[in-house]
């Protein structure tokens, strides 16, 4: 266990160096959600009866979008390293397989956390308001979801090996997932079949939890979203670990 943690740290430091050195990648990941915030948020705000209320509803959704895309595309950092021989070089060492995976995941999570802070900072320039404790709790939940998604992304990348198979799969899966999370417009206006689809989407539960937490309500919605996130971490983390530990040729 101690060894696994040490090696998670080694892999974490290695995975973090490139983005710490050129923080451009942080901005790239933020671009999408910030564009929505700036170019779509004000429209939503105008539609809402009470001024400022739309931001409380909309910003947590953008946090989810950031996490969904950031986590799901994490695997793109490993495909070139599988192809070139970096992963092979690492897998032939006695390194703990958990360390090889979770070091990368941890680096992605820290990146997401930093991006989340920036996103919420920009949101505060509009009329989004939340107290510090709520912001921290929301970012922790986001980090958990990011860890789960990034593990799954590595598992997929290891299985598919090539970006040109990975990219179309993601672009097909992510937009429906995002729309069914109800982050652009409230799902309660949707026809019932769509609402049902949204309710069985675990990401919608997390989005609801984020909204509850940022408005200071730590009730059942927050609890359900947290449990869903923990469930995703366990299932997708185990999948990632299993894929990393298996022989790949």
């Amino acid at each position: 266990m101690k060894r696994a943690l040490q090696q998670t740290w080694v892999v974490f430091v290695r995975a973090s160096r490139p983005w710490l050195r050129s923080p451009v990648s942080i901005v790239v990941g933020l671009f999408g959600p910030i564009v929505y915030l700036v170019l779509f948020g004000p429209v939503l705000d105008a539609l809402y009866p009470v001024k400022g209320e739309a931001w409380q509803w909309f910003v947590p959704g953008m946090l989810l979008q950031l996490t969904l895309f950031g986590g799901a595309y994490a695997g793109f950092s490993i495909t070139p390293e599988i192809r070139s021989g970096v992963m092979e070089r690492m897998r032939v060492t006695p390194a703990s397989r958990a360390g090889l995976l979770f070091g990368r995941v941890a680096s992605d999570v820290v990146q997401l956390f930093v991006q989340g802070v920036i996103l919420l900072g920009v949101a505060a320039l509009f009329d989004f308001r939340a107290d510090a404790g709520a912001v921290l709790a929301a970012l922790v939940l986001v980090a958990g979801l990011g860890a789960a998604l990034s593990s799954a992304s590595y598992a997929l990348a290891i299985k598919l090996k090539e970006e040109n198979k990975f990219a179309p799969l993601l672009s097909m899966a992510l937009v429906p997932l995002l729309l069914l999370s109800g982050v652009l417009l409230p799902m309660d206006k949707a026809p019932s079949w769509l609402r049902t689809l949204s309710e069985i989407n675990p990401l919608a539960q997390v989005a609801n939890a984020l909204r509850a937490i940022t408005s200071g309500q730590y009730g059942s919605q927050a609890l359900v979203g947290t449990l869903v996130t923990i469930g995703l971490i366990v299932v997708l983390g185990a999948w990632g670990l299993r894929t990393m530990a298996r022989e790949h040729h």
């Binding site: 040490q6 290695r14 490139p18 021989g85 070089r89 022989e247």
Partner: protein, 325 residues
Amino acid sequence: MLKVRGLTKTFRSRRNTVEAVRGVDIDVDDGELIGFLGPNGAGKSTSIRMLSTLLRPTAGEAVVGGCDLLADPMGVRRRIGYVGQGNGAGLNQRVGEELESHAGLYDIGRREARRRVGDLLDRYELGGMAGRKVSTLSGGQRRRLDIVMGVLHQPSLVFLDEPSAALDPQSRSNLWDHIRSLNREQGVTVFLTTHYLDEADALCERILVIDGGKIIDEGTPDGLKRKVAGDLVTIASTEPAAAAEVAARFPGAGDVAVDETTASFRLRGSHGDQAVPDLVRALDDVGVPVSSVRTERPTLDDVFLSLTGRTLRDDSGDQTKEETA
């Protein structure tokens, strides 16, 4: 150092089954520099990938560096170095940091890692490169960096998979010098694969010839050549036909051929060079004029051709098989 029995790998997919390695036995002593020679798809890489714990054998057993491959893969990983066909350093990493991270995966402490990295970068002519981004290195430098990664934890056995593939001739011979010195000066046992005859010839003390997943012959480069083909002896003379008659009676001679200015034959069982004095004397005895005698060692290409009926450059057959695997 290495003892392998009945090593087998069968790749199964929905459509087809490929027997990439079919029952390979290998014994390697401490300090040897040994090579797997065979065409693409012969099972060379699959074999050493199994021996370095990257692939699980379908059957067979092996003791690698004193550890049982199946029962103690972690022990094997600690004792061996493996340099694959690709490049092991991440393109967006810096050389020194990448090496220190690599040392961390072997539980080498930071101070010790720094010391080793400094020493090895100097030894492998990468001094001053520690701060450079990996993507700025030349092909030869990256290959040497791969070897540094393979030996950073001071293994007693190192596997090199096609070490010089895709290198220019200069970088290649430079790399060969480093591999020789790793073996002779550092005392590391080296097991490499190659489909280049000149590489096997230049580096290896012993060669295992592999084709279709089986070892079909083994020996020293010279021994293999001698056993199979025999030296080619060419006599230049103004009377080639008379020279050919003498050559045909010479002990061990075969495949005698004559053209306008020369007579040539294959000499089995002994070194062509050592036969030259006797040959010249025999020619002189019957008054055949000789202007020169040239002897050529058979190449490993000749060896491979006579063992398999194909040259190493024939890319037919097995290659497509392994690619689908």
